[in-house]
Symmetry: C2
Subunit: 536 residues, 2 copies
């Protein structure tokens, strides 16, 4: 089982240190601790295990170290910044593992950018030694990229010439959309194994500055200090999740996942809170036990567990139980205290977890039924679903202001705005009903659910829906959902997952990359790969 839970005391590959407002996140990969086994993590190369620690560090920096206004991303290896994803790992991993590895690393890098953009916790990449492939892609997430000018250190995206795959951890998209590199220069850069260094790296906007070795350490510190503008604050502790993993269930205090293997589905039941703190002091006092934060962490872990460890469960059914009143109260606290650093972090984490739902390549069906508590932020699971069905008479749905702004999808629109892309007035009509209990008739009229079913038909209709979904081709559903969930406008983020990743996944199926004579299998054997020359 791949476990996404860790903490700094267990890190094998990263070190976190602090100096006033400046944190330092040092990559120093232990070659002898690969996640899958059978390869060495040489030259600060990474696999999913390395990235799980990085994701943990990025989250902890936000909750546990709000005093850190700048984070220096650097290498503990004197010779290399980071050599990117480990090639032996890619060569031996299944298609599904490769795809999910890339997705998770992309989500982690977007989380770094979210910290820079929305938390005032700004990253600085201090590149000393080569930053190749995924190594440079990691650096690209920073607000400021510094490259030591030692005639040896370079940035590069050598995937295409070396491995016949794409710089798929956002690399191509960040070059064009974030660094706004000219497309033909990007073409040269991505086909030049040795990369670019020195003055040209700045001229081509690959890095923001190059610094001579003699001034390196001082300049890194100076830049980091200048970037750090966060008011003082005291973090909270993210304690280990309480989790029981059984053969057919994963149980957390607020989230209960039950696995139906013959039905090829998992049911994710979210239990609403049973109380709400009175005020901001109460939220800080509860720390990671405050329901929205606790639930978000548990749901996130559950999603990742299902993605990597339960690939055959193609259908996620979201349910909830509890009193919607407490959910609306919690949302009201999040809205009222939106400018508090902790409340902001909780809301941003909710945003990221719901984005993880959107990006989960499983069919998502939400059941709004008797006793459920899809209210406010939790109702995002209704709007994220491919279909949401609701029981007449006995079930209710509630909206809160959190459905109208703070929890956007990767396309920068709310789920409601995405849903009502063709009928913007419907968003206004929904806004007018914030806080009201909406029964199935009202929810259907407002366009908030897909279908309402009568009490008497409910069980049968739900069963038919789930059975039908499970009968379709898993791949076709993945493709369908990747299109329908993201109508209209795109952002760098959606283009990473929708364009770059889709092409990479195609390449990951092609013999030129993954066949016995393909580049990934032949890498390091001394034999060159042989390519089918046909272009499609």
């Amino acid at each position: 089982m791949i476990d996404f839970q860790t903490d700094p005391s267990r890190y094998r590959h990263w070190k976190l240190s602090f100096d006033g407002p400046v944190a330092t996140l040092t990559m120093d990969v232990d070659p002898n601790a690969p996640l899958l086994g059978g390869y060495e993590l040489k030259l600060n190369s990474y696999d999913l295990g390395v990235d799980i620690e990085l994701a943990d560090a990025v989250t902890r920096l936000r909750f546990e170290h709000p005093e850190a206004g700048a984070v220096i991303l650097r290498s503990g290896n004197p010779n290399v910044f980071c050599a990117g994803a480990n090639i032996r790992m890619l060569a031996k991993a299944s298609h599904g593992h490769k795809v999910n590895f890339c997705k998770f690393t992309n989500e982690t890098r977007l989380a770094i950018e979210d910290a820079c953009a929305n938390s005032g916790q700004r990253y600085l990449a201090a590149i000393s030694g080569g930053a190749a492939g995924g190594g440079y892609e990691l650096a690209l997430t920073a607000d400021h990229l510094m490259l030591i000018d030692d005639r040896r250190s370079a940035v590069s995206l050598p995937e295409l010439p070396l491995l016949a795959v794409l710089p798929g951890t956002g690399g191509l998209t960040r070059l064009t959309d974030k660094r706004k590199m000219r497309r033909d220069r990007a073409d040269v850069f991505c086909t030049t194994e040795e990369g670019v260094r020195g003055k040209r790296a700045v001229e081509w906007r690959l890095v923001d500055e190059v610094v001579p070795p003699s001034a390196w350490e001082a300049t890194v510190q100076e830049r980091a200090l200048a970037m750090a503008h966060r008011p003082p604050a005291t973090g909270i502790k993210l304690t280990p999740l309480r989790r029981e993993i059984g053969p057919d269930a994963v149980i957390y205090p607020n989230v209960r996942v039950t696995l139906d293997r013959p039905g090829r589905r998992a049911t994710i039941l979210v239990r609403g809170p049973e109380s709400t703190p009175l005020n901001l002091t109460g939220i800080h006092a509860m720390g990671d036990q405050f329901w929205p934060l606790a639930m978000a962490r548990e749901l996130d872990d559950a999603l990742l567990h299902l993605r990597l460890n339960e690939p055959n469960l193609g259908l996620l059914v979201f349910r909830s139980e509890g009193d919607p009143k407490y959910l609306l109260d919690a949302d009201a606290l999040l809205t009222t205290h939106a400018h508090d650093w902790l409340v902001r972090e909780i809301t941003l984490l909710l945003k990221r977890v719901f984005k993880r739902v959107d990006m989960t390549a499983r069919s998502l069906i939400t059941l709004v039924e008797e006793g459920s508590c899809f209210a406010g932020s939790l109702a995002e699971l209704v709007f994220a679903a491919d279909r949401s069905v609701m029981q007449t008479t006995v079930a209710t749905l509630h909206l809160s202001p959190l459905n109208f702004g703070p929890l956007p999808m990767g396309n920068d629109l709310t789920r409601l705005a995405t849903r009502f892309f063709g009928e913007p007035d419907s968003t206004g009509q929904a806004w007018a009903r914030v806080g009201e209990p909406l029964d199935a008739d009202a929810a259907e009229t407002l366009g908030l659910i897909t279908t309402a079913y009568d009490d008497t038909d409910w069980a049968d209709e739900v069963r038919l829906l789930l059975e039908e979904r499970a009968s379709f081709s898993p791949d076709a559903l993945t493709g369908l959902e990747a299109n329908l969930r993201f109508p209209g406008p795109e952002t760098m983020e959606t283009r990473i997952f929708g364009r770059l990743t889709a092409w990479q996944n195609w390449i990951f199926q092609r013999p030129n990359a993954v066949g016995d004579n393909g580049s990934l299998k032949r890498y390091g054997t001394g034999e060159r790969p042989t390519f089918d020359p046909a272009r499609v």
Copy 2:
């Protein structure tokens, strides 16, 4: 060899008829005339051969029938509007053929939308009988969709449940982006084999109106007449292309393609005009011999020939020869007379042909060398290329106003604006140099080319560049180019090719669709496909 040239006298599958300002394009597929052989084109299903005729008809309607302000798209088969792409054809076609078939059909459908949006030649889909899959996708291109309300005729996208592939001829994207259907309704629609008819089809925005059978013919005519608002005009004749196809060359009067099979490349040499008509009357008198139109038709045919018939030539090298003066004169005529219907059509065809260049999955390298005439509209081949290199001292490049607006890419930006996505000032600097001969130094400073090479190094540098490119994985290059050519903003058009198509191509590689037990192979055998349940 697949030939893209045809004319109405040779059509097997379509009929064109005219009644004043209303044209009718009737699909009546001959089941016994499949392009590839080995299947019957039942139920108005189509293959590439059917679509080649459609593309020809759409182009002729614009040049030969400018009097037609409305085009009724209908079926000559009393039982079915169109059953979509032929499934037996898909099952037997190679991956490369499937991908290129889908690309061409998408380009043809976008050409219909271009006529609606930019030529005032508006399409009306008169759907009588089932419009399934590609059949409904074809109807979706129309400005107005009418469905007969006969309790039998329905629109549907049954690809997913029936074939385990996507409605990939723009279907998913047009549902969300053009028809602006709510995403969960689109999910229901795309998983419901039998489709939707009657009132619900209107409510879900799948069609614009349903009409009872008794009023059908009269209403179709009425709507078409109401849509037709084009001033009277007399068309020109599109005469057959003069073309010689040899073993290693395809030669047209203005375009010469030479094939270097060992080098895996084709060189496309465009010969500039040797004279220019004096005025608008001269353009109309020359008709399809006016250089921009003649060249556009020849280049288009050459691109399609290379795509379908020469898959192993992964590299297209663009060259030109001639006097840039005449090119600039021709561009000046196109600019001065932009409001003339024929001039507008020529410019719009140039736009579509250059878009076909952008969408060609081959590496594109443009050589600006001694004697070349990349000026104005032809310089789009410099900006479309993945790399453009220029010889110092002896070569020149010229810009014209046509580089700054009338020839946008699928992303709705000009190639220069796309190129300068990160430095919008550069577009203004280029604009200031319109009409001037720019040598390699100037072109490099302005950012118009990738690299300038000295005369003495030119031959070697070019050889190295072409050899290096030919050594890379064809698939990785396809993915790289599909990303780098389209930085930043997306449109429905780029999302069809970049998101929908990329996922479809992935699915077209997956055993669940194309394996021996997959849906395409099993279709019609009475045996259900067996799916690997794993989601990736």
